[in-house]
């Protein structure tokens, strides 16, 4: 409930002794994972919220200085763990920018497909888990069922259902085969109905509407000043999407729109996310139907991709290339330089500031983590709300703790 509907805030700063402090988290269901808030309360009205983060800090960026460009993909997978392929695409996008590799068309399409599938699964989890927190359990079941279908795609393409670790420098682990494409088509076929069901449960649910409409309003100016990006900014009228505005991979080929809203409340954020699922679905549909044929990796003459098994065992160049990349005292060469490259992840701009010292291991892998920067929105929008609104606002911001703390 916003403050203007409450009794007037009778207690001002001179009566500060009435305020009491509540610890929220770090282990609390509404936080989904781990974050802690120290709330200063006036009755049930929140006067001030101080987030205390770092409960999942695991040294991702330090690990990036010790693992080579291909190995680090297993670590970035675990950064935003509800849309792992998007992290892989972002990481190798930065590496390939540093090494100046032009991907093949097929690889670009494949990366678009896995990225958009992961965006769908991210938004599904965000909406489903938020609905669960706001008392709509069934929507959670619908959303998770669809996520399982997307996990099946991951499993078919890489052998692992959760963290595929699928991209490689200059290509991907295995090419898509017919079974993967069948599974992607299964997702495309079943998703619209599940989305419709979810929408009915969410948009026509009185409790959900009352708990999200007009709650946690973020204005456009605040969104810009808080450096927020992605669906959160787009729900506040900052219409910027890297897929459209600074296109990467094969995004110029596809017909899709960038949904936005101007209200800036929780409801608008959920609306933008649900609409983005439809747009991503459209992209996946176009990409899978027009998937170009041809090789998926860049030619091994470029000295970057790990050759596949057949090439390694059956050709001299493949064997040499494999040896060069795998032996610990060898490896690819990179320019002694630094580069910033970003993509549009489900939560906003996911960028890497990559500094290389000429070896195949980065000198520094600074991540621009969208969850970390977007979470600064929270203490600003939670002011003058009730404790019960924390669940709605946290759910709409979709904070992923591993990306928040790295």
């Amino acid at each position: 409930m916003p403050a203007n509907l409450l009794d007037e805030p009778e207690i001002e700063s001179e009566h500060k002794e009435y305020h009491w402090t509540l610890n929220f988290g770090p282990q609390h269901p509404a936080t989904h994972t781990t974050l802690r808030l120290v709330l200063e309360l006036d009755g049930e009205r929140i006067v001030k919220a101080t987030p205390d983060i770092g409960y999942l800090h695991s040294g991702f960026e330090k690990l990036g200085e010790h693992l080579n460009f291909n190995q680090y993909v297993t670590i970035v997978d675990r950064k935003n763990y509800i849309s792992p392929p998007m992290n892989e695409v972002a990481w190798h996008n930065a590496v390939e920018k540093l090494l100046d590799i032009e991907l093949t068309r097929r690889c670009q399409y494949i990366r678009v497909i896995i990225g958009e599938l992961s965006r769908i699964s991210d938004h599904l989890l965000c909406v489903g888990a938020a609905a669960l927190d706001l008392g709509a359990f069934t929507a959670f079941l619908f959303c998770f069922n669809q996520r399982e279908l997307i996990n099946d795609v991951y499993e078919e393409m890489s052998g692992y259902r959760f963290h595929p670790g699928y991209t490689r420098v200059g290509g991907v682990l295995h090419d898509f085969n017919d079974r993967v494409i069948t599974k992607v088509r299964a997702v495309i076929a079943s998703l619209p109905k599940a989305l419709l069901d979810t929408e009915k449960l969410v948009y026509r649910n009185k409790i959900f509407l009352n708990r999200t409409r007009g709650i946690g309003i973020l204005t456009r100016d605040d969104a810009l000043s808080l450096c927020s990006t992605g669906p959160i900014a787009r729900a506040s009228g900052v219409i910027y999407d890297l897929r459209k505005d600074e296109p990467y991979l094969a995004y110029p080929d596809f017909d899709f729109q960038v949904p936005y809203a101007t209200e800036g409340d929780c409801y608008a954020r959920f609306q933008v996310r649900l609409e983005e699922i439809y747009q991503s679905l459209k992209i996946v549909e176009q990409a899978i139907e027009n998937l170009p044929s041809g090789p998926v990796n860049v030619p091994i003459a470029e000295k970057f991709p790990v050759p596949d098994k057949g090439t390694t065992y059956n050709s001299m160049e493949g064997l040499i290339q494999h040896f060069e990349l795998i032996m610990p005292n060898r490896g690819m060469e990179s320019p002694v330089n630094e580069v910033y490259a970003a993509i549009e992840s489900p939560n906003g701009e996911l960028g890497y500031y990559l500094v290389s010292d000429g070896s195949q291991t980065a000198w520094r892998t600074r991540t621009r983590p969208p969850s970390f920067i977007n979470f600064q929105v929270f203490p600003h929008v939670i002011k003058d709300h009730l404790i019960a609104d924390i669940g709605a606002i946290l759910g709409s911001l979709n904070i992923i703790a591993a990306e928040l703390d790295r």
């Binding site: 100046d100 605040d222 000043s225 330089n337 910033y340 600074r366 703390d405």
Partner: protein, 178 residues
Amino acid sequence: MTEAATTDVDPHAGTLEALTKVLGGATLETVRFRDNLRVFLKSDQLLPALVALKSELAFQLIEIGGIDYLAYPGRASGSSRFEVHYVLLNQDSHERLILKVGVEESRPSLPSVVAHWIGADWMEREIFDMFGISFEGHPDLRRILMPEEFTAFPLRKDYPLRGRGERHNFPRLTRDES
């Protein structure tokens, strides 16, 4: 991926010109790599440059990060150990600009930009936490990711990946006690 320097029209020309004017006509040290443009500034030039870029050229702050260049290959002797980068984005012209400021190890300090972008708050705190670079004028400069009682700065190059044993420093609960 075409290099910006090789295209006919330099997308950054107007920005660089305006930036030079703001900073009193001194020649700016720039590096171009792929489509990035990096502009090196001194720490006293940072705030005027950022304010001008925000108010006159409508740039928005995207991210701040720190880098430790201890024993970096090819690093000129006498250059500062740390560098902090500011990535800016103009959402109308899609132009990106990276400002880089060197920070000495002996006096690790920079002016804070929280007054201009509230979003810089946590990013500056993270750099303080990870590298020990303090930001003058920051309203609440505390550790953000590591515990308060932690003493080292983990992302410095002279700090080992596995730490110095801090992670083993907890009491053990046995079956009898719990």
